[in-house]
């Protein structure tokens, strides 16, 4: 900056293109910082921060609706003292919105870079291909988690003022923590599937459609399996769709008395979800190993 500000005699003032080039010998940060920067960049992009107004519309529309649902629940609880919806039921009620959110954000994070051809610039830098994929996935998981955890926290704060006694607040807090865990499961499973789909589709709109399709088109399969005469078949039906898969985990681990009727297959739901996430992540890494060498 100093070279810019000093007036150099013999040169017309205001002409600034002739300042000398400065070599950089300052610090070059390592892998952790680079991945961290990419993660934060992705997280900001998920909510349209640093993007044009157009990029903010969809994510904030969904944030608005989720926030409104939470506000109504808080208001009802404050008025009647009755919790119409438990914390753990909150993400289940909003499943469709989570799907939409992933369908909006995942293409923004993955397809956009594919479409603009920016990937070779990333991979011509010290950034590793796997780190790129994982940073983007982590950004989507975090964004989805925040989408639900934020309103959930407000609901807990609202409830904490409504209930009587420290013991009741403490029990509310326990329920709230369990629900956060459930929200995290939602975020991880949904994001892994959405990210994988988005990473193979270059056009954002198509990717968004494909993601919604991946989640919604599998639900009829669940419906068909559920009405089969075999009890085992109906108990396992939920495995066929990511939405009911997560719901099954909820019935098993996060809610007392689930409504999906998964029987004793709870651990299987957990294992399948874990496997699904694992496969998605592996495919995602493989995808970026391939795309980088093109």
């Amino acid at each position: 900056m100093t070279a810019l500000d000093t007036h150099q005699p013999g040169r017309p003032a205001g002409v600034i293109h002739d300042i000398g080039y400065q070599r950089y010998d300052g610090p070059r940060l390592g892998r952790r910082h680079i991945v961290g920067a990419l993660y934060l960049h992705g997280l900001r992009a998920a909510f349209g921060l640093g993007r044009s107004a157009k990029g903010k519309v969809f994510p904030w529309l969904i944030v608005g609706v989720v926030g409104m649902v939470a506000a109504v629940l808080i208001a009802i609880r404050a008025q009647t003292g009755q919790a119409v919806l438990s914390y753990a039921e909150f993400p289940e009620v909003l499943t469709l919105l989570i799907v939409f959110f992933c369908a909006v954000v995942a293409p923004e994070l993955a397809s956009r870079d594919l479409h603009s051809g920016v990937l070779p610039l990333y991979f011509a830098r010290p950034l590793r291909r796997g780190d790129y994929a994982l940073a983007k996935l982590a950004a989507l998981v975090s964004a989805t988690f925040l989408l639900l955890a934020g309103p959930l926290t407000l609901m807990f704060a609202g409830a904490a003022f409504t209930v009587d006694g420290l013991g009741a607040v403490w029990s509310e807090f326990g329920d709230y923590l369990v629900a956060l865990g459930y929200v995290a499961v939602h975020a991880v499973v949904f994001s892994a599937v959405a990210m994988l789909v988005a990473s193979v589709v270059r056009r954002r709109a198509v990717a968004a459609g494909a993601i919604v399709g991946a989640f919604l088109l599998t639900t009829p399969v669940v419906g068909v399996l559920a009405v089969l005469p075999s009890e085992t078949a109906s108990q396992l039906a939920g495995l066929a769709s990511p939405i009911t898969l997560v719901g099954g985990i909820g019935d098993w681990a996060f809610e007392a008395g689930g409504d999906l009727g998964i029987g004793r297959f709870g651990p299987l739901y957990g294992a399948v979800a874990l496997g699904l996430v694992g496969v998605c992540v592996l495919l995602l890494l493989a995808r970026y190993r391939k795309v980088a060498s093109q």
Partner: protein, 306 residues
């Protein structure tokens, strides 16, 4: 002096059909190096191997005394790459984008921002750097692409067809910029181009490849004197003009409808333009003669360049 790039029998085949590089052995010293070859000659493959993004099928490569297949990370932190194709997200401003790319090379946040605007200024983007890249002209986009390759102060720049899509003035500007980077900034540059006439103006050394094979590699001073020649074409009165220019003691040569005059500084342009204007002739074309790679190839057999 450290060797900038050295390859030993470098070979790359895709699948088992397409041979992109074949037994390429070449060594270049720091400076501005032109890598010339027709489209499909293997230039982009060569760059990707140097970056460690592609593994060679056979042979070895060394960049800045590192092996890119082993120390890819180390190579990539010291190299800047400007690809040939579009690679800019349209909905970010140049300042934001270049800052982000600087951070991806490991620069701390504030430094990244400072160096991004400084670098954009060096490539000639001022206030427009806050506008979205989507609205830029091709020339401005090329400059942003160059800026992102330069922002982390690499020791070597790999530029893949940097003048692609530019008009003549834009080409000259880009070449002048690359020349400055190589000389004033002290950064070595490898420029890929299919136009020999373009890169030979700014390069210290040339490497010509064809169909993945080395055609010729030499310091430019070694090559037979490549005189810059202006070619003039007028729709009529070619003879008159030739006579007039000869009278001005310019060594004019005729080549079909073209008049070829060796360039001796800017004065040559003025003399020719004045002559054309005075004779009131319709000037059709006036440009620096470009050599094609084929001519260089021909020169290796004929022993005389052009």
């Amino acid at each position: 002096m450290v060797t900038l790039i050295a390859t030993q029998s470098l070979t790359k085949t895709y699948g088992n059909r397409v041979t992109a590089l074949s037994d390429l052995t070449v060594a270049v010293e720091p400076g501005i190096v032109g890598l010339v070859g027709a489209n499909g000659a293997g230039k982009s493959t060569f760059i990707k191997i140097l970056l460690g993004l592609l593994a060679p099928t056979g042979g070895q490569a060394r960049v800045l005394d590192l092996d890119p297949t082993v120390d890819g990370q180390a190579v990539r932190s010291r190299v800047g790459y400007m690809p040939e194709h579009d690679c800019l997200p349209p909905d970010l401003s140049a300042a934001e984008f270049v800052t982000h790319m600087a951070r991806m090379s490991g620069l701390p946040r504030t430094t990244a921002r400072e160096r991004a605007s400084e670098t954009l200024r060096h490539v000639g983007l001022y206030e427009e750097r806050y506008r979205q890249v989507g609205g830029y002209s091709t020339g401005m986009k090329q400059r942003v692409k160059l800026a992102q390759a330069l922002v982390h102060d690499p020791d070597l720049l790999l530029l893949d067809e940097p003048t692609n899509g530019l008009d003549p003035a834009g080409r000259d500007g880009m070449l002048a910029l690359i020349h400055r980077i190589g000389t004033e900034f002290g950064i070595s540059v490898l420029v890929c181009s299919h136009l020999l006439g373009e890169v030979e103006r700014i390069c210290d050394a040339l490497v010509a490849i064809e169909a993945g094979r080395l055609l010729r590699s030499a310091q430019l001073s070694d090559m037979t004197t490549v005189t810059d020649v202006l070619s003039v074409e007028v729709s009529e009165g070619t003879d008159e003009l030739a006579a007039r220019l000869a009278a001005l003691e310019l060594p004019v040569r005729r080549d079909g409808r073209l008049l070829l005059i060796p360039i001796d500084g800017d004065a040559t342009y003025d003399l020719i333009l004045t002559a054309v204007a005075e004779l009131d002739l319709p000037l059709h074309r006036l440009d620096q003669r470009r050599h094609r790679v084929a001519e260089l190839f021909a020169s290796t057999t004929q022993g005389d360049l052009q």
